[in-house]
């Protein structure tokens, strides 16, 4: 194998790793943003300050997926250590 091919493989490997890592971070950020959005929408319905009840009711029909995701997150919040280790990719 020529040196140039080895170099190319290394660069591609590093690039792929960075891409994967970046994608993971964006996914994590997306999940948290969606979670924050859902919490804001349902906050008037669970007694927290937020937009009006009517705003919540009007948006509620469209956030079914986000709502299910937030419920999943809330279930996992009992194990905060595992959640943190998961974020840091420590297994």
């Amino acid at each position: 194998m020529r040196l140039r091919d080895i170099f190319k493989k290394v660069i591609t490997g590093i690039s792929e790793t960075f891409k994967e890592r970046s994608a993971e971070l964006i996914k994590l950020e997306l999940r948290e943003l969606e979670n924050a959005f859902t919490l804001l929408i349902i906050s008037p319905l669970i007694g927290l300050p937020g937009p009006s009840t009517i705003t919540s009711l009007r948006l509620l029909p469209y956030i079914e997926r986000e709502l299910a995701q937030s419920l999943n997150i809330s279930r996992r919040l009992d194990d905060m250590l595992a959640e943190m280790l998961g974020y840091l990719d420590i297994t």
Binding site: K19, S22, A23, I26, K27, E29, L30, L33, E34, A36, F37, L40, I41, P44, G50, P51, S52, T53, I54, T55, L57, R58, L59, L60, P61, Y62, I63, E64, R65
Partner: protein, 318 residues
């Protein structure tokens, strides 16, 4: 079309002023609609009306509406319920109406429903020269009138957050990540569409409330508490950009003889009248004397209108 809103403490004469101003404008050849948004109506009582549901024609070019607040809340929640039901069809077995009924008592729903009626009435009656809104007592009035402004700031925040979410989804899609069937741009996102719809409604209301064709008139009695409340209302409305241009000081005691029992009352009145002239110096202020009988019926309201003549001129001028 011009919008006039009467604001003041309960029992100071907002309804009488609104009804009488309407008659004065109608007598000058304009078409007028007077709307009571007060949950405890007495617009129909002031006009001695028996039938008072829906839009009632009192005179040619003079109509009134007493908004049924409970009905407005019900109608508003029915629309929301319909929207929820059409999306969560699989939950119909749970009888979602039961939960919607509970929501009619949720904080803010009454204000939302009244604001929604305010918007509907303006849209449906744009052929009128004047729409006069007789508002509930100050506290509820300010909550209703500030609602579109507060609502807008929340919607802007939600919109920014939603934009950030759509940005991240697009980024992931661009690098080939599988996200499933989720909207990635604003045009295909139903949440963004609904936020935009709500924002448009808010902007319509803010536009109407802050327009040069809209003015608030403060109604107060020459007493300390109504004056303090009127000052607070003036500050709040001005901070929202709603123009307050007129002030009706109602029930001013004008005694022909000295009555010792009313000495301190008259002193308080004098002090308040001086304060009113100072605080509301840029407004047209009219004084209405304490009348032996409360004005009821069209003729009595016409006589009342003589006292607020300069206010009628102000409305026609602006």
């Amino acid at each position: 079309m011009k919008i006039i809103i009467t604001v003041g403490k309960g029992g100071v004469g907002k309804t009488t002023t609104a009804a009488s101003l309407g008659i004065a404008l109608r007598d000058r050849g304009y078409s007028v609609l007077v709307v009571s948004l007060d949950p405890a109506h007495n617009l129909g009582d002031v006009l001695n009306l028996k039938s008072r549901s829906g839009k009632v024609k009192v005179l040619d070019n003079y109509e009134i509406i007493e908004v049924d607040v409970d009905e407005a809340v019900r109608k508003y929640l029915d629309e929301v319920s319909l929207m929820i039901k059409s999306t969560f069809k699989h939950l119909s077995v749970l009888n979602i109406d039961k939960y919607i009924d509970i929501l009619s008592n949720a904080p803010g729903v009454e204000e939302h429903a009244l604001m929604s009626e305010f918007k509907r009435i303006i849209e449906e009656n744009d052929d009128k020269d004047f729409i006069i809104f007789d508002m509930p007592p100050t506290g509820l009035s300010l909550r209703i009138l500030s609602l579109p402004f507060i609502h807008k700031s929340w919607l802007m925040e939600l919109k920014n957050l939603r934009k950030a979410i759509l940005d991240r989804r697009r980024m992931l899609k661009n690098i080939g990540e599988e996200l499933g069937d989720v909207p990635i741009d604003e045009s295909s996102d139903p949440v963004m569409r609904e936020l935009d719809n709500m924002l448009k409604e808010c902007e319509f209301l803010i536009g109407k409330l802050t327009s040069r064709d809209t003015m608030c008139i403060l109604v107060l009695a020459p007493e300390t508490l109504p004056l303090l409340e009127a000052e607070r209302a003036f500050r709040k409305l001005s901070s929202l950009g709603i123009s307050v241009r007129g002030c009706v000081v109602n029930k001013v005691l004008k005694l022909r003889e000295h009555v010792p029992e009313l000495k301190s009352k008259i002193e308080e009145q004098e002090r308040c009248l001086n304060e009113i002239k100072k605080v509301f110096k840029d407004m047209t202020i009219v004084e209405v004397p304490f009348l032996e009988q409360e004005p009821r019926g069209v003729d009595a309201l016409r006589r009342y209108a003589n006292y607020i003549d300069s206010l009628v001129d102000l409305v026609l001028r602006s």
